[in-house]
């Protein structure tokens, strides 16, 4: 971090999410106050009107999710932010965003659960909810930053992926990351590529809102542009009309999966530290990755050959890529702030010769580097 640079700003993780959204061209935000995500809504209420964008505080999280989907269909880049209980309430309409292929971004600043749980304390226990929270089959895109700068970058990336693939994208941060302050430099416009959904280039009568294209991603017209399409949460044909035809049903569900799976290599994002000669790897995401980076330095001082793998894309899960990385180590320690969610995915894909060890904490506290170091000593 270059602290001498006068463009550097001291930002909270939640504030960096706001800055990332503005950089990505967010035009609409709907939300409902909830700890520890509220600063995102506050920031958007302050900043969006200044650039002619729209901010609305809705009556609950169900309505917030509904409003951003409505706004996205009207052509706006849209976002909401929430935490545990609010994320639960949003699941109904997140499903609607999946089936209607509506681009939008949902930030979940994780806190402890279940239910009201721990409003002011950290957890990483919404990994599976972010993947499977709403009913039915679909493919989720979920990103997870670990620093303030990554909050900014991952929110920009979330907008880009949402717009490109016409899908909701979830960004999982957490209470500590949301409230911690770090220096970061906001990139100049153009430094990070910003994507907008592909608009149809066919005459109105030819347009199909859910057309099955070679990439499985359809162009997207907005309400008011003359295309007059239908959007429904019922399984629909390519024109958006409800269908009970088994062929069309399967086509639709395959489309939801394939448009992500076919481009998964471009969605995966993994950061590695000191993995070249490592015998042991610490695998983590979010705030825990910060402790992991510190822990491997401490272990390296003790001549333990260890490295760290940080997942910035949690879903789609990078099966093949991770398997390849893990084939080079004897042991992997999966460190997470929950009762064991990520570790099961790692066990599913780990090569047979790689031992998978679990390290969990779920008492509302961060995982200290020392705790990881102790685990390293135990398994090495």
């Amino acid at each position: 971090m270059n602290n001498n640079n006068n463009k550097a700003r001291l930002l909270q993780g939640n504030e960096a999410c706001v800055q990332g959204a503005l950089y990505a061209g967010a035009e609409f935000f709907a939300g409902y106050p909830i700890t520890p995500s509220t600063e995102v809504a506050e920031g958007m209420s302050r900043e969006l009107p200044k650039v002619g964008g729209k901010f609305i505080q809705m009556e609950d999280e169900i309505a917030s999710m509904a409003a951003i989907i409505g706004a996205s269909n009207a052509g706006c880049k849209s976002m909401t932010a929430t935490s545990g209980p609010g994320f639960s309430l949003m699941q109904e309409n997140i499903g609607y965003a999946y089936i209607t292929e509506t681009p939008c971004v949902i930030i979940n600043v994780q806190r402890g659960g279940p239910s009201t749980g721990l409003p002011t304390k950290i957890a990483q226990s919404d990994i599976m909810q972010a993947r499977w929270g709403t009913h039915g089959d679909y493919t989720a895109v979920v990103l997870a930053p670990s620093t303030v700068k990554e909050c900014f970058e991952e929110v920009v990336r979330a907008f880009n992926l949402a717009e490109r693939f016409r899908t909701p994208v979830v960004v999982l941060t957490d209470e500590v990351l949301g409230h911690m302050r770090e220096m970061m430099e906001i990139p100049e416009p153009g430094e990070i590529n910003v994507i907008r959904r592909h608009k149809p280039d066919v005459p109105h009568d030819w347009y199909k809102h859910f057309e099955i294209t070679p990439s499985f991603v359809s162009s997207m017209a907005s309400f008011g542009e003359g295309y007059r399409y239908n959007v429904t949460g019922l399984i629909h044909d390519q024109e958006g009309f409800p269908t009970a035809n088994p062929v069309e049903i399967k086509e639709k569900l395959d489309k939801l999966r394939l448009k992500i799976d076919r481009f998964a290599d471009e969605i995966y994002k993994i950061r590695t530290d000191m993995m070249d000669d490592a015998h042991i790897a610490i695998l983590s995401f979010g705030t825990v990755s910060r402790s992991a980076r510190q822990a491997i330095k401490m272990a390296r001082d003790k001549r333990i050959k260890i490295g760290a793998i940080q997942l910035l894309t949690l879903w789609p899960f990078p099966d093949a890529k991770l398997r390849e990385m893990l084939s080079g180590v004897r042991k992997v320690i999966v460190a997470e702030l929950n009762m064991g969610q990520l570790v099961n995915e790692v066990k599913r894909i780990a090569p047979r010769h790689t031992e998978v060890h679990e390290l969990q904490r779920y008492d509302g506290e961060v995982m200290a580097p020392q705790q990881i170091l102790d685990k390293i000593r135990e398994v090495k």
């Binding site: 609305i56 809705m58 509904a66």
Partner: protein, 283 residues
């Protein structure tokens, strides 16, 4: 004869030709009458089809948008007004209409309903009120009168009834009206008035579900139920002159409440003006 042919031309102009009719509604259902009234109101106002967005939730009435040749959004149960709010705030130049039922708007969507009224956001809401859950097979709704029968009220309904009109007035809507599927010309005028109003407008339309409500409560077929509306409706102008005892078995119709409160998007525009921001409609 000419008049009917003309009416049919108008109707076809606003229906989706490629959509497979027949519709999902029972023969004699009031939903079709409301759809016809809506189409004629829109035609009379000469609204641009491209600029009309029809949003609905879940239920029999909420299946209406799929037949209509506008921008249409068939959403989740009870949430139509929340989706519609997003559309309207994002693009205030669009004419946003919500089609909802009594269960959709007043039970699962009750919270969204009162807050849309409170914001006085420019959405025309047509609440097709048949006093029962039709699509799921005749369960009691928040609008089912006490003592009425439904599949989940086999011994008679022991709950109290919601009055959508009073609820909307109390919540801040600036145009609140009630019509019926019998009084079609009045209904068209009420919808037209709602579409013209800049603010939240409600048209609470009493409609018939003879398939369930009528059958369970021995109110007869569609025609019998329409006759009931005819007999018991009292226009607001006349109702105001009547003593309460003469209104006991009557319900009030017409434009019941109107104010000129500022509308939500108008307020937001004024905010942008105060901030000195150039307003831009989303691309």
């Amino acid at each position: 004869m000419d008049k009917i042919a003309h009416g049919s031309d108008v109707t076809h102009h606003y229906l989706r030709p490629k959509k497979k009719f027949p519709n999902v509604w029972c023969a004699g259902c009031g939903n079709g009458i409301v759809m016809g009234a809506l189409i004629r109101s829109i035609d009379r106002l000469n609204l641009d089809k491209d600029k009309v967005v029809v949003v609905s939730g879940i239920g029999c009435s909420s299946r209406m948008p799929v037949y209509l040749d506008f921008n249409t959004l068939h959403t989740t149960h009870g949430r139509a007004l929340a989706f519609a709010t997003g559309v309207k705030v994002a693009k205030p130049d669009l004419k946003v209409i919500v089609i909802t039922g009594d269960g959709d708007a007043l039970a699962i969507g009750g919270n969204h309903f009162i807050h849309a009224c409170r914001r006085n956001i420019d959405i025309t809401t047509i609440l097709i009120n048949n006093k029962i859950y039709g699509m799921t097979g005749g369960q009691f709704a928040p609008t089912t009168p006490g003592g009425s029968f439904a599949t989940t009220a086999p011994y008679g309904n022991y709950e109290k009834q919601f009055d959508a009109v009073k609820l909307a007035i109390g919540s801040g809507a600036s145009y609140v009206s009630r019509g019926t599927v019998y009084h079609v010309q009045q209904l068209e005028k009420l919808i037209e008035g709602g579409l013209n109003k800049r603010g939240f407008s409600l048209v609470d339309v009493y409609s018939n579900c003879h398939t369930y409500y009528g059958r369970f409560n021995k109110e007869g077929d569609a025609v019998k139920m329409l006759e009931w509306f005819k007999k018991h409706a009292m226009p607001i102008e006349a109702a105001r002159k009547l003593p309460p005892e003469k209104m006991v078995d009557k319900f009030v119709t017409g434009l019941i409440h109107e104010t000129d409160a500022t509308e939500f998007c108008q307020e937001y525009d004024m905010l942008l003006d105060r901030l000195g921001v150039k307003k831009e409609v989303a691309k």
